[in-house]
Symmetry: C2
């Protein structure tokens, strides 16, 4: 699903593409996802035209850059689906999601945008994260630990919001605290977290 069905890229194009993705990832990690594309192109040593040809929009490039991380997240989430304590598992998933967002400052903004205007590879990536959230959530509903009226959309939006509000160099204590508040609000009755 990753590689498109078109004919394979020319060798030099392939090389450039990979280099761009790798460089972009480093730049996004250190300067945030709004880093200058012009500069990324310059770092790679290609023209801007080349960069834009491979990635028509910034979000396409972001999607390519974070894809590995997202796949890793997905793998971890898969394990959690079968966890013994769904609420706790959900908490861990939220934490992981938030810490991931932290790696790329400005990402939650993009995620939010994507969740409104659905289209493109980045939006798809976000969609997959939301589905993962749903899978972890469903278990909790089955066991009755999570309120029935809470949807994956709710949880995903809220998790993204919390991640967003803590991106600017805050300690992790606040993150823990806010996740705990979220979980309490999502849980049915008086479950302890």
């Amino acid at each position: 699903m990753t590689t498109s069905s078109k004919r394979p890229l020319r060798a030099d194009a392939r090389r450039n593409r990979d280099l761009i993705v790798e460089t972009a990832r480093a730049a996004f990690a250190s300067k945030g996802v709004d880093a200058s594309l012009e500069e990324i192109a310059k770092t790679v040593g290609v023209g801007q035209g080349t960069l834009y040809r491979h990635f028509p929009t910034r979000e396409d490039l972001i999607a390519a850059a974070i894809q590995d991380d997202v796949e890793q997240l997905a793998r971890n989430a898969d394990k959690r689906v079968r966890a013994r304590y769904p609420l706790k598992a959900l908490g861990e998933w939220l934490r992981e999601l938030a810490l991931f967002s932290r790696t790329y400052s400005g990402l939650p903004n993009r995620v939010l945008d994507a969740s409104v205007g659905k289209s493109g590879s980045f939006a798809e990536l976000c969609g997959s994260l939301e589905s993962l959230t749903d899978r972890v959530l469903v278990r909790g509903k089955e066991t009755g630990q999570i309120r029935a009226d809470v949807t994956a959309e709710d949880v995903f939006l809220l998790a993204n919001a919390v991640a967003w509000s803590l991106t600017k160099a805050r300690g992790t204590e606040l993150l823990e605290k806010h996740i705990a508040i979220l979980l309490r609000g999502i849980a049915s009755g008086t479950n302890e977290v």
Copy 2:
């Protein structure tokens, strides 16, 4: 505290200043707080130099533009402090805060920035909003309806985060739902909201 202690502005400067603020408010309300300052200046009919002279940073201008709204919020909050049901009052305050944020798209971003790097008139304005939150919160703690370990900073950050995640043209149902989740997480025990 609003007007600085310096000598009064020259008549023409005063007029320009007011016009700029008024125009900016309209622009921020319709295009968000990232609206082009160049364009605002052009609309007013002054040079960019004039605008920047009055408001060295964009946040200074935002602060001036939203000041009236914030004062209105403050007045309303004052009433709530003495409310009979503190948790409910807090909910109303959060709702009002979020709806206000909605009016100026992009505002939560600025609020977050300000809460990190404290300085300038805008940061002060944000600080006053946080204090208001605290006042509403304290009552709830006194009556034992709100957890002791929840601070005004927590609530303010979370409220801002929720407002942020719902700025992009979503219905108010989601807002209600998310505020309810927040309140549940903040409340001690099993208070109904």
